[in-house]
Symmetry: C3
Subunit: 344 residues, 3 copies
C-alpha cells in the first residue's frame, strides 16, 4: 500500500512549496462532444467552427470551463484529496482560448496556511497555473480549501493569509488575440441582446431545469481526471450518496444561462465562487444571473459583463441570493462571480 | 425574465414566415463516437473509414440520423417549445453525406396553419432546410406539430394545409456523389442479403432489445441541442417522468435493425413518421421492419428499399402494426417510413 | 426472421474453420474521450500527446484495452452470442500501438472443440487476429468459451484441446517501435516508482472504488459494438438485471490500478484472464495487483512487469485471491494476468 497516494494532509503543506501535478492532458474534439452531451450548452462560438472563424477565432475554441475543469482536476490528488470543503476561488483568468490538440499541465504554489482553532484541520491557499504544450500560461487561479490534519498533535504552521483581489480588474482581463465581434451574427447566436441591453443590477431567470443523474456527473468528473472518492463511490459517505463535483454544477448553470445570456460567448475570468450546498442525483438544477458590472474593452465590438451566476435546487423565481439573516437562501447551490465577453 | 425565450405560440406563426434558427453546429468525430455509445449501431459504412472509402465515400460520413437530429434540434426553441405533440414528418431528403468538420444551420418556413376546433391550439406546418458551411442544402424536411395558443381568444388564422407527398418519389432521391457498391464487402458488412433478397411485403423481426435509461436519452438529446424541457426535467410533467425525445427511439430502432438489414447502409429519405406512444426509462425497445417498395438506381450497384421501421415496447413477434380497429397496436412506439440504399 | 443472426451454436463450429467478423471499426479521438469519461484512467501516455511524443510515440496511442475491446467485440456475434460463459483468455499480444484513424477488423480460427459430458453444450477455442487498415496484425489472442448446442442430439465432434502457453514468453513481447523511456517524466506521470521499485510477490491495494451504473456499462459495451443481449436488455435474464460485460471490469480495474502503478504505461500482453463472478449496477469495484515477474527489455529504459490484476466487489484490504479450499475468495470479480511496460 505504500505505493499508493494517500493525498497530502494539512501538515504536509508549506508556504512557498511548489507542486507539479500529474497527468498532462490533451484536449480533443471528443471532449467538446461529451461536454455537449453532458450539459445543455448552445453557445454558438464553441458549437460552430464557422461562427468562431467569423469572430476571428479559428480553430474553434472549446468552452473555457473544459480547460478549467481539466486544469483543476489535476490539483485534486495533491491538494484536496483529504479536503473537508472547497472554500473558494479567486483571481482566475483565462489567458488564451484552448483548442483540440492543446495539452494542459498544472503547477500549484502554496500561498497561505491557517490552522483551524479545533486543531484538526486547516485552510490551504494555493495559486495554480495551467500551461500549454509550449509552456505558455493558459489559465491561472487561486483557491482555498479546508484540509484534514493527519495528526491533530502536529504543530500549527505560522498563519499566512494571502491578499486576494475580490474582483479581477477589467484592465487585467485577457481578450483573445484576434477576437472581433463587429460582424457578429445575432441570428445564429440565438438572441438579440447585446452589451448595452444589460443593466447593472438586472436579474435574469434562466427558466429551464435539469434533473441530475449519477452516470452523467461521474462521466463528467472522470473526463476531468478528478479523483475525489466521494464523487464515485457509494461507500465513501455514510448516506451512500455520491456527492456531485461542484464543477458539474458550474457547467450546468453556465449552460442553462444560455436562455437569456446567449451572447455571453467567452468567460474571461472568475472572480469568486462558492459551492453553497451539496448536490446529488435527483436534484433539479435551475439558474439565474445578476449583472454586477459592465465595461467596454479595446477589442473591436467586445464588451465585458461581470455576472453573478446562481444555481439553485428547484426554481426560485424570486431570485433570492440571501435571506434577511444574510445567509444563503435555501436551495442555493452555487454563487459564481465571473467576467464574460459579449458583443457591444 | 424578458430576455429568455418563451417559445412561439400558435398565434405567433404566419404562413410564409421564415425563421433562422440559432446555434450552428459543427459535426465532429466525437459525435460519431457518442452515437456509437448511445445506440447499438454496427453499420460498416459510418463505422469504418476503410469500408467507406471502398464504396467511394471518403472521409467516412456520419450516420444520416446524426445530421437529422442536429438539424431538427435547432428548430425546437422556435417551433415546438410549446408543442402539445409532434404530429408527423414528410418529404425529408438527405442531399449529401455529412462528415466531421461540416457545420449545419437550419432555417424553417411556415407552410401551413390550422387552428383546432377547441380554439386552444393549432397545427403548424413548417418546411425546414439545413445548410452546410458552404450554404449548400444538406437535408430538408417538412413536419407538422400541434402548438398551444398563448391566448385562446386570439383570432384563428386562415386555414392553409400544404399538400405533402405521401412518399418521396424514387426519382427525387439523392444518391451521394461517388457512391459505388460494385466492390461491396459483404463479409465486412456482416450479412449476405442484398437488394434482390428482399421482397416487398416481407417483415423482419430484429430480435434484439434495449432497456432505456434516463442518462442515455438525456445525453443524446443534449448532443442535438434539443431544449424541450420534458426530456430533462422531472418537474415538467405531473408524473415526474422524463419523456424520451422521439428521435432517440428512431435512432435506437434504426440501430437495432442492423440485425436483418445490415446492408441498408444509407438513409436517403424519410417519407413519413409517427411517434405513436411516449417512451420512458425502463422501457425495453425492440424493432421490426417491413419492405414497402424496392427500386434500382442509376448509381453503380446501388438499389433503394422503402422500409417501414416499427419500434415497440416489448417484443412483438407477430409484428402487428394495427389492430382490427385500424388503430396502432399496443406497444407500438414509432412508425417510420423511409428510403435507404443497399447493394444490388 | 430468417435474415437475422441467431449466432452460432456448438455444432456450427469445426476445427480449422475461419470466420471473418463483421463491421470494421475506425478508432477516433471520440473513443479516447469516452474511455476517459467511463473509466477513471490517468495514465500519462494515452492522456497527453506531449508526453507520448516525449517517449517516442506520436501521435499518442489510445489505451490498448480500447483496441482489445473493439477487436473482441467483433467476435461476439459469431462466437459467443449463445455462450454460457466466457472461460478464459491466453496468448494475447499487442503488436503495435493504435492511434485515431486506424481501422480494425477481426478474423477468428477455431482451434479446439470439446463437448461437455452433459451433451447440451461444449467448449469452443478460437484464435482471433485483429488487423489494421494495412493488413498488419494489430493484436491477437486465444479464448475459449462455453457455447450452447442447438440440438442436444447432435453428435459430438472429435475433441481437440489446443496447447496454449500459460504465459507469453518475455521474448515474444512486442515493444512498440521507437519507445524510449530514458527521458521519462515521472512528475508528469504522477508517481516515482520505476521498474526496480517493484518486487516479485509484492501486492498493491489500489484503494479507490467506483460504484457501477447501467448507463455507463451499456455505453462502454456499445462503443465496442458488443451485441450480447444480457448486457442491454432487462428481459434477457430472469432476475431483470443487466449483466455487465466482463471487459468493463477489466478496464475499470486497470484504471483504478493507476494508484500505485501509474508508470505501467503500456499493456504488452495478456497471459490469462478469468471473469470469476458477474457484476451488476450498484456493485462497487475495487482492485489490487500482485507483481508476478519482472524482466528487462532491449528497448531503451523499458522494463516489463508481469502483473496479476484482481477486481473485487467491495474492498479487500487482505488482498486474498483464493480461500483455503483453493477457490476464488468471495467478492473476486476478475483475475487478469498481463505483461506491461514501465520505465527502468
Amino acid at each position: 500500500m505504500s505505493k499508493t497516494n494517500p493525498g497530502n494532509f494539512f501538515e504536509d503543506f508549506a508556504v512557498g512549496q511548489v507542486i507539479e501535478h500529474a497527468t498532462p492532458r490533451t484536449i480533443t474534439e471528443g471532449d467538446r462532444a461529451l461536454y455537449g452531451a453532458l450539459y445543455p450548452t448552445r453557445f454558438a462560438l464553441p458549437s460552430s467552427a464557422a461562427f468562431a472563424a467569423q469572430v476571428g477565432l479559428s480553430p474553434a475554441p472549446v468552452e473555457e470551463l473544459i480547460a478549467f475543469h481539466i486544469a483543476f482536476g489535476k490539483t485534486v490528488p495533491d491538494v484536496s484529496l483529504n479536503a473537508v470543503a472547497n472554500l473558494g476561488y479567486a483571481e482566475c483568468r483565462f489567458h488564451r482560448p484552448l483548442v483540440p490538440g492543446d495539452t494542459l499541465r498544472t503547477r500549484s504554489e502554496v500561498i497561505g496556511l491557517k490552522q483551524n482553532s479545533n486543531g484538526r484541520s486547516g485552510v490551504v491557499y494555493v495559486r495554480s497555473t495551467a500551461t500549454d504544450q509550449h509552456g505558455a500560461v493558459a489559465l491561472e487561479w487561486a483557491r482555498w480549501v479546508m484540509v484534514h490534519k493527519r495528526d491533530a498533535e502536529a504543530p500549527a504552521p505560522q498563519t499566512v493569509v494571502p491578499e486576494l483581489a475580490p474582483v479581477v480588474a477589467p484592465s487585467d482581463l485577457v481578450i483573445p488575440a484576434g477576437l472581433d465581434f463587429t460582424a457578429y451574427d445575432f441570428a445564429a447566436a440565438g438572441e438579440p441582446h447585446r452589451f448595452g441591453d444589460y443593466a447593472v443590477g438586472e436579474r435574469i431567470d434562466h427558466v429551464d431545469g435539469v434533473t441530475l443523474t449519477d452516470s452523467e456527473h461521474m462521466m463528467a468528473t472522470r473526463l476531468w481526471q478528478n479523483t475525489a472518492k466521494v464523487h464515485f463511490n457509494t461507500e465513501a459517505r455514510p448516506d451512500g450518496k455520491r456527492l456531485i463535483y461542484g464543477g458539474h454544477i458550474i457547467s450546468m448553470a453556465r449552460a442553462l444561462s444560455f436562455n437569456g445570456l446567449a451572447n455571453v460567448q467567452l468567460i474571461a475570468a472568475i472572480n469568486a465562487g462558492a459551492h453553497v450546498s451539496p448536490a446529488f442525483a435527483g436534484d433539479t438544477v435551475y439558474a439565474w444571473s445578476e449583472v454586477l458590472d459592465a465595461v467596454e474593452t479595446d477589442a473591436p465590438g467586445v464588451g465585458a459583463l461581470r455576472l453573478r451566476l446562481v444555481a439553485t435546487r428547484g426554481r426560485d423565481e424570486t431570485m433570492t441570493l440571501r435571506g434577511d439573516d444574510g445567509k444563503y437562501a435555501d436551495g442555493v447551490l452555487l454563487d459564481l462571480d465571473y467576467w464574460a465577453l459579449i458583443p457591444r
